[in-house]
């Protein structure tokens, strides 16, 4: 079977990542079930094994397991800053939307994303979309196409958000 050939090739790395993946998954199972009955523990263990087997078979355990490990926990400052931006943008959009005259002026902007890595650019595009008032429509290479509810919404984030997200680059 091809799975076993692949395991044999990068055996130590694959086993190590599989082990960590299994550990995290089983921890998640314990967390979500909150029950320590032997039956549930056994079922959890079997499901974990199955998922790890499938993940190794798909060959995702080494690349993605690592990048998530680094990227989610390091830039805590960025996440905190983003939450503040999202709250401000929410108030802005809510005000526009409830205003009797509906003062919007939708525009499409093209913005350069200065992140080197693909993951950095995707994080930037996703945080643009997550912030109400701006939606990333397309990402071609370095160019990001943004639909904005009005000019203010996009000005609040371009440049500044870009440089913030650039810190995510690895």
């Amino acid at each position: 079977m091809r799975v076993f050939q692949r395991l044999a090739r990068g055996r130590r790395r694959a086993w190590r990542h599989g082990f960590y993946l299994g550990l995290v998954l089983f921890g998640l199972w314990l967390l979500l079930s909150g029950s320590f009955k032997p039956l549930l523990l056994g079922l959890g263990f079997l499901s974990t094994l199955l998922v790890v087997y499938i993940a190794l078979r798909m060959d995702v355990a080494d690349h993605e397991g690592r990048s998530i490990h680094i990227n989610v926990f390091r830039p805590v400052g960025f996440w905190v800053w983003l939450v503040g931006q999202i709250v401000r943008a929410n108030l802005h959009v809510t005000y526009r939307v409830l205003h009797p005259r509906l003062p919007i002026s939708p525009e499409v902007f093209h913005v350069r994303a200065s992140q080197d890595s693909e993951l950095g650019r995707v994080t930037y595009a996703n945080s643009v979309t997550l912030t109400p008032g701006t939606i990333a429509i397309d990402l071609q290479g370095n160019e990001l196409e943004i639909h904005a509810l009005d000019r203010e919404a996009v000005e609040a984030m371009v440049g500044h958000k870009d440089s913030r997200a650039a810190a995510l680059d690895l």
Partner: protein, 109 residues
């Protein structure tokens, strides 16, 4: 006793304002003129509405397993909702739907 009152008040403030943003987002989705602009208030629902309600529920639950689960829900929402919105916008653009704009398209650096 005092602490309990503060916690209840905080939690209900979060739940009620979260509800307000949900309604505001719904109104926005009805009032705005075209597909692309309507996606913006949907973002209000996803972030502020869902976020505040989850926060209110977390305060209700205190330090417990339920709070951890609520945190996980918030985390999944944070990753899935922009992806889904982006997929929608891109599909609409791909299908040839032109956004309603005030000015002609201009390029910003």
């Amino acid at each position: 006793m005092m602490l309990e009152t503060v916690r209840e008040g905080l939690s209900w403030a979060c739940l009620l304002s979260g509800g307000f943003f949900l309604v505001a987002g719904g109104i926005g989705m009805l009032r705005l003129p075209d597909f692309y602009t309507r996606m913006h208030p949907a973002g209000v629902i996803d972030t502020m509405g869902a976020g505040l309600i989850l926060l209110g529920l977390m305060i209700q639950a205190g330090f417990s397993l339920v709070t951890v689960k609520l945190l996980l829900i918030a985390l999944f929402l944070l990753f899935t909702s922009p992806t889904a919105v982006h997929a929608l916008a891109k599909a609409a653009r791909h299908g040839g739907l032109e956004p309603l704009l005030v000015n002609t398209e201009e390029n910003d650096e």
